[in-house]
């Protein structure tokens, strides 16, 4: 290969690395001080890009070209920084002590809300910004033309790193940030107002995110997909660099930027796989990232998600049987559309229930359950389309493919603690999403795979409903059995205290790994069933909203109970089915619902009912004068 070309490619990688570093450094700083992984960080970058792209033409018209352009960049970054302050004061302050899964969900709710607000106010179309005045030209490097602006970006990374270093070592604010990253409580006990420190940190983090976005506009238009694409990459960078380490983020950004630039030459269609491989290697060698500290970050999803098992009462058994009977009779009571919705709800119940195994029982936070659902869906669709195997075999293959995928990924990540796991599961789902999108020859890209219909005998709506009910029902019952079996007990013991579980002879990692694979397989079966229901699939089955829906179902129903996720699946699906046709802004609605659950009803619907029952039981006890 032409060596000049390789150099240019490396420079391209460094330019991307700079942008990536700006975004990741803000994320890692905010995490270090507040211990909150801010999902909305990518959304802040997106807002920075929009703000700059919209402002720059106006500012350049009134202030003159260069001054106007750079003013617009600065104003955009500062405005986003102030938005970060607002987010800290209004939302984050209420959830600093909440379980980490709630923190993730609350900030994810912001992602949904911001996305719809952008579409509502600016519109869904891309916004192209102006090119940077004075930096529109090219330089010649080894006889090849290289854009000046890219060269400028390459310099921005180290400059920002240097400025951050000065800020962190030479100012009181910076010293407090570093101290708080290590021990927040001690900093407070020395008289430092944490609220102000956190607000200041959010400003800094959001400012960096906004700056990263604003500096993108001469390269690429602002668009509504940036937020999730960027946050997944930023997660990978911060995890590889070590959570809370700015220098680590810099190194990781360079590694990833350069690897991707050369990865394009090797696997042009699936560059993100290279990123995944790098992540896997780093995590095997250094589980806490390049410059991270081996400290236990995040204890797990928290008690609100911990399933507590108790034998069902007679009434509950009767209710469960009634529920099953009602489902079985559903096709007789519903119209054709209703049957389809019911079929979807049953499939989603399996998705939520499979997630329940790892979160509620295993205490492992997964934010990327869509990965296994999607793997099953694509596995089934590809089996039918490319291998021409029948539906029955494809449905058997779906859980196998997803289970293997989950087992492979799980082998790298199950030893990690809560936050890392959440971030990496999200990242893997995003990577698979990107692969499905990019690898057009195999996956059909954006259009997906069409014409995957059930076998003739199962093609009737009602027959297919019963097929789904039988398979998903069997899988749910099997998972429920597992929860009550010794394996489920071991999983719960490991969740409550990994150390104690090890002490009584439970192989914690292997138990968790197996649960991860089983859960993935069950989600994969759901994905396969979904494919034949829809007759077609596209990359959205792998998208983050699918993962979040599964989490929302778990939360809405209440993850402390066995039945909660199933109730939640029914409720959420009905709700989405009702609101989606009414409003284009269902993301906004879902975001607000998520915020409401996290802030107002953390135990979910079934949890609330349980709490009521407990209260009543305590009352009767008190009335009888028995000890509590």
């Amino acid at each position: 290969m032409d060596p000049a070309f390789l150099v240019i490619q490396g420079l391209n990688g460094l330019a991307s690395a700079s942008s990536l570093f700006l975004i990741a450094s803000g994320l890692t700083l905010v995490f270090g001080v507040t211990r909150i992984v801010n999902f909305a960080h990518g959304s802040l970058t997106m807002l920075g890009a929009y703000a700059a792209a919209l402002l720059a033409p106006l500012a350049m018209a009134s202030l003159g070209k260069p001054l106007g352009f750079w003013t617009a960049i600065a104003v955009a970054a500062i405005a986003v920084g102030l938005l970060g302050v607002l987010i800290e004061i209004v939302l984050l302050r209420r959830i600093y002590r909440a379980p980490e899964l709630f923190q993730l969900l609350a900030t994810f709710a912001l992602v949904l809300i911001i996305q719809d607000l952008v579409i509502l106010t600016i519109g869904p179309q891309d916004v192209l910004g102006p090119r940077a005045p004075g930096l529109t030209g090219f330089v010649e490097i080894f006889g090849r033309r290289f854009p000046l602006y890219e060269l400028f970006l390459i310099a921005v990374g180290p400059i920002v790193l240097g400025l951050l270093w000065l800020l962190l070592t030479r100012t009181r604010f910076g010293i407090l940030v570093r101290a708080a990253t290590q021990d927040r409580e001690m900093v407070g006990a020395l008289g430092v107002d944490q609220a102000r420190l956190f607000t200041g940190t959010l400003f800094l983090g959001a400012f960096l995110a906004g700056l990263g976005g604003a500096l993108q506009i001469p390269r690429a238009p602002a668009n509504t997909e940036m937020d999730l694409a960027l946050i997944a990459e930023a997660f990978v960078v911060t995890v590889i660099g070590g959570m809370g380490s700015v220098t680590g983020a810099f190194l990781a950004a360079i590694l990833i930027g350069v690897l991707q630039a050369y990865g394009i030459l090797i696997f042009p269609e699936i560059t993100l796989v290279v990123v995944f491989l790098l992540m896997a290697i780093v995590l095997v060698v250094r589980p806490y990232g390049l410059l991270g500290k081996p400290e236990p970050i995040g204890a797990g999803p928290g008690a609100a998600f911990a399933l507590t098992l108790r034998p069902w009462t007679g009434v509950e058994n009767a209710l469960a049987i009634l529920g099953i009977l009602a489902l079985a009779a559903a096709p007789l009571l519903l119209d054709a559309y209703g049957v389809t919705v019911a079929t979807e709800a049953v499939i989603l119940a399996l998705v939520a229930f499979s997630l329940h195994l790892i979160i509620g029982v295993g205490g492992l936070v997964s934010f990327g359950h869509a990965a296994w659902f999607g793997l099953g869906a694509y596995g089934a669709a590809l089996a039918v389309k490319s291998l021409s195997i029948p539906m029955e075999a494809a449905l058997a293959l779906a859980p196998l493919v997803a289970g293997l995928g989950a087992a492979l990924f799980g082998a790298f990540v199950v030893r990690l603690s809560g936050i890392y796991l959440a971030m990496l599961t999200l990242a893997v789902a995003q990577i698979l999403y990107a692969v499905a999108f990019q690898w057009v020859e195999v996956t059909g890209g954006d259009n997906g795979i069409v014409g995957v219909w059930p076998a003739d005998w199962a093609s009737g709506r009602i027959v297919y409903f019963y097929l789904v009910l039988a398979l998903a029902g069997a899988a749910i019952l099997a998972l429920r059995r597992i929860m009550y079996a010794p394996f489920g007990y071991a999983l719960r013991a490991a969740r409550d205290s990994a150390l104690r579980a090890e002490a009584i002879g439970i192989a914690v990692r292997r138990t968790r790994w197996l649960a991860f694979a089983l859960s993935g397989a069950a989600a994969g079966l759901a994905g396969g069933l979904w494919t034949f229901l829809k007759g077609a699939i596209d990359p959205t089955v792998l998208s983050i909203p699918v993962s979040v829906d599964a989490l929302a179902m778990l939360l809405l129903g209440g993850a402390q109970t066995v039945i909660g996720p199933i109730v939640g699946a029914g409720l959420l699906h009905m709700m989405e089915d009702q609101t989606m046709p009414l409003t284009d802004y269902w993301r906004l609605v879902l975001g607000l619902v998520l915020l409401a659950i996290v802030l107002l009803a953390p135990r979910g619907v079934v949890g609330a009912i349980e709490a009521l029952r407990e209260a009543r039981r305590d009352e009767t006890r008190a009335a009888k004068g028995a000890p509590p």
């Binding site: 009181r172 010293i175 570093r178 990253t181 409580e185 001690m186 006990a189 020395l190 008289g191």
Partner: protein, 233 residues
Amino acid sequence: MSAGTTPLLVVEGLDAAYGRARVLFDVSLEIAAGEVVALMGRNGAGKSTTLKAVLGLVPAKARRLTFLDRSIAGLAPHRIARLGLGWVPEERRIFTELTVAENLEVGRRPAPDGRAPWTPERLFALFPNLAEMRGRRADAMSGGEQQMLAIARTLMGNPSLVLLDEPSEGLAPVIVEQMADAVRAMKQEGIAVLLSEQTAAFAAAVSDRAYGLARGEIRASGTLDAVSAALAV
């Protein structure tokens, strides 16, 4: 009240618990300006919890909890600290990623009412060992040096009362002697100290009087000898 002055810190009927496990039962004590008071008790008696409860770091309830005649019950720890209440935790909790000078900077707060503030220079005079390491990262320090840094860091906040949790624990005799000097120096500056200790040796060298804590209850108060005798049975 040995000095007969108005009390600086008043704790009356303090109860504290970790989750469901109750740890402190009706603890009451008082400290006047400038006195050094020992809080004696075995491992697990509740000494550290008492200090943390005063600072608002563990959930607690008290009939009365005042500092400088102001109720500090329910106040955020940083607000309590800003009133002039310093805390040196048992685990020291030095910021190991920061240099010695930076550790001191984190503790810096303005001095109240025209008192001459503590500066790194004055503290380096008190702890000469620290002076040589000011630019060094704190994770390269010995246990004794970390203990000195922890005290110096708290003094940078110009407190009028320091809650000093087992300063002599696990230190070599030479270093313990330096700690005693430091406590005496604090007393000389008019700083009151509430000192938690398991053994009488260090407390005897520096304290004016003592309280005895066992299983979360105050069992004795008065002279150190009397308190030690009461706790021994």
